[in-house]
Symmetry: C2
């Protein structure tokens, strides 16, 4: 086939939207991802809190593109991008040549160069981390039940969540429900009120990207549900036994959940490119990388500004970028390299939402603000709508219904697949072996903070 | 509470049945298991073939005993049983004293002392192995898609199943369906008929514990579905690249599934006890260990004979034994150590069944034999009936219906939880670190073979 070759690196919201927009168009698309499924990350916290199975928020790429003869998936780790020779190097294959390249590699946990943080906290960015967090929390309850020392028991049952953005707020709310249900009913040997959740946020309020009024509501609701919210405090020092906060507080704990920062996942081979202060690749109004014909970057890894601020690392920006780039590529393919590429990208703000738990959520869409039960129902509808696959929608709805009526968290298993060398040859390296920790200086924290939610 | 203390080691079919029979009786029961859930092992192969989630065949012990104030669960690895001092030692806790001890530790893979076998094969006894097998097979398909060499591609797509008992037959049948669905629809870059399954059995027929006629039916049905059945052949030598059979055949493959033998999981501290030729603990007609007051063994780890043969390592024997022991303990508690313990144990044969795939199963119950669609429906009903939990029954039925109508295998994710030190402090050691391989001589193979299915 002589069609131009499009290689998309990363099948998150951006890469997937781009590939879908190229479905049955006159291009040959290769979509690369280190996992064999697209992950609906907004519901990761429900996997981490034993409500959903991974298969309910993960949808195999090959199934998505079953009816797309021109879109091929390959499970590959990209080891290098050669923009000069228009070639992507992959771990298990030969080089993959391209005419058009779309970098959609997303973001990863940002530990601001602090190795101890990376070691002693559990993140919430990947399915592997969410499953680890489920295993970890359930195991802490078991260990607490084995413990005879009061102080140690309390340490097992103290959970510190760092970062008061949507991820931290949603996880803390869901964890409170899990503890209430499981501690109360399944661990009669433990005093039900011994479980303790502390949510730590550096800024003076939770949900900094939201309206002040919604932040206040979230804080109030979490407090009512027994969560100890501490704003204006940052994490100073972490061990496997405790957390030291910037205000001098020391909290004995075995669990520190890290949701305080992400950084773009820059593909190897792009280190020389111009980036923004938050280390996202600089792109023009059509998401093109300057100086390299046919190369694009979208989503969390790309930097676009509007109204004086960098656009947020959120799925609408990624999806809109993916579709925009698909159109630009098709214009060029149809009309040649000098074609008019159409209107520059304009971001349509879809608003943001965060759920706080049963019957409570906050959202802002345009000038509308909503909270409480209405916000919660809106949150449910939006998330069901965006979930891929009829079966997943059905199963997630059923799981939510079950949870709502029965107050049950049915996936309470501590499970770990035995390691497999063949699977390991495809999956991304696990955090221990990754060298994944950003070594850049603490000063980045400021940059990241000033650049959005 | 001054009630007598019953400690049950292992929450498989036997241990669970025993604990349930002691529900709300005048004893304090502690149930120990290395997992926090009871596993319905007959459906493990459906987890391994991407049809069910682990949570659908695993049910948390603490939930099972929510309404049993006298039954407490503890997730513990038993490191020693001290029959003299009536004490069970656990990895994370202090010694646990008992008045009555029920050993129900089940069985594990038997590699007959062959380290290479243990290293180069994937077992099917635990949830960890089933998940590994799912990850492994799906990853082999991905690797085949990356491959340019024909021979190598064929090696990735050749799957050897060793052992033609129910586990091997059921897995081979389900794998054939998975390959047909996934290869055909999701990997258009691979020739759909390149996938190959070879089922190897040492005896001259499959399903040795079944009627000859049923074996012949199973063999015919598997062959019709494209599975290469080789009986009267044993595995000689295995590497990560190939299998060498006793008849001289060498099969290039990356996948060897081991279902050719199990051995009892003897609890540490019982090595000096008398065992049968198959290494199961010798027990009397009430499952008592001779010489130690209040100590019992049931299920796979216990040896009872009837009609001149050792009773099989099957769930009915374990469950009946568990209930029998519960009654014996209650008799003693009520009437004192000299009480009449009632009738000796008598095994009621519940028959056996094995499914071969869509619309085909074999079963024998008493003098009845059935095959085909009727056998398959009977198999479905029996397994739904024995599954624990209303929700699980519902979800499994729905999954089966979906699979039947849509010919879909929805859980096709390669997923591996990140390692967690706290969870690892509770879970059993993974096979690499376990030293789990039976070092006893090859001659055992004969013993195991002569002693039943």
């Amino acid at each position: 086939m002589g069609n131009p070759k499009v290689v998309i690196v990363g099948g998150g919201f951006g890469g997937l939207a781009c590939a879908r927009a190229l479905h049955r168009k006159p291009v040959d698309v290769t979509l690369l991802d280190t996992h064999n499924f697209h992950l609906f990350t907004p519901l990761l916290y429900q996997v981490a809190t034993a409500l959903l199975n991974p298969s309910e928020i993960g949808y195999p790429f090959r199934t998505i593109f079953r009816r797309s003869p021109n879109v091929r998936f390959r499970q590959e780790l990209v080891t290098g991008v050669d923009l000069e020779h228009k070639l992507v190097r992959a771990r298990n294959g030969h080089g993959i040549p391209y005419d058009y390249l779309v970098l959609a590699t997303g973001s990863t946990n940002n530990y601001f160069g602090n190795q101890a943080l990376a070691k002693h906290t559990v993140g919430m960015k990947t399915i592997e981390e969410a499953l680890r967090l489920r295993n970890h929390v359930l195991s802490c309850l078991e260990r607490a039940s084995q413990e005879t020392d009061d102080g140690e028991r309390r340490r097992w049952l103290t959970f510190v969540v760092v970062g008061g953005g949507p991820t931290g707020v949603e996880y803390a709310g869901a964890l409170a429900e899990l503890l209430k249900l499981v501690l109360g009913r399944d661990h009669p040997e433990l005093p039900p009120d011994l479980g303790r959740i502390i949510l730590v946020e550096g800024m003076d309020r939770l949900l900094g990207a939201f309206d002040q009024r919604l932040s206040a509501y979230a804080e109030r609701t979490l407090a009512k549900r027994g969560i100890d919210v501490r704003t204006g405090v940052i994490l100073g020092h972490a061990t496997d036994q405790s957390v030291h906060l910037s205000n001098g507080d020391v909290i004995p704990t075995r669990t520190i959940v890290w949701s305080a920062g992400v950084r773009p996942n820059q593909p190897p081979g792009t280190e020389h490119l111009h980036t923004s202060r938050s280390h996202r690749l600089a792109v023009d109004e059509h998401f093109r990388l300057s100086g390299y014909q046919g190369a694009f970057a979208i989503g969390d890894v790309a930097s676009r500004s509007a109204n004086g601020g960098e656009l947020p690392m959120l799925s609408p920006f990624a999806m809109q970028g993916g579709r925009h780039v698909a159109n630009v590529i098709l214009q060029e393919v149809k009309r040649g390299p000098t074609a008019d590429l159409g209107k520059p990208f304009r971001y349509r703000d879809k608003g943001t939402m965060a759920t706080i738990g049963r019957n409570a959520a906050v959202g802002q869409i345009g000038r509308f603000r909503f909270t409480g039960f209405i916000g919660w129902v809106a949150w449910l509808l939006v998330h069901i709508y965006y979930l891929i696959g009829f079966r997943n929608r059905l199963v997630v709805l059923a799981a939510w219904g079950w949870n709502y009526l029965r107050k049950d968290r049915p996936i309470r298993l501590v499970v770990q697949a035995d390691p497999d060398p063949i699977a390991d040859s495809l999956l991304p390296p696990s955090p221990g072996e990754a060298g994944d920790i950003d070594q850049r200086a603490e000063s980045e924290r400021e940059a990241a903070r000033s650049s959005g939610p």
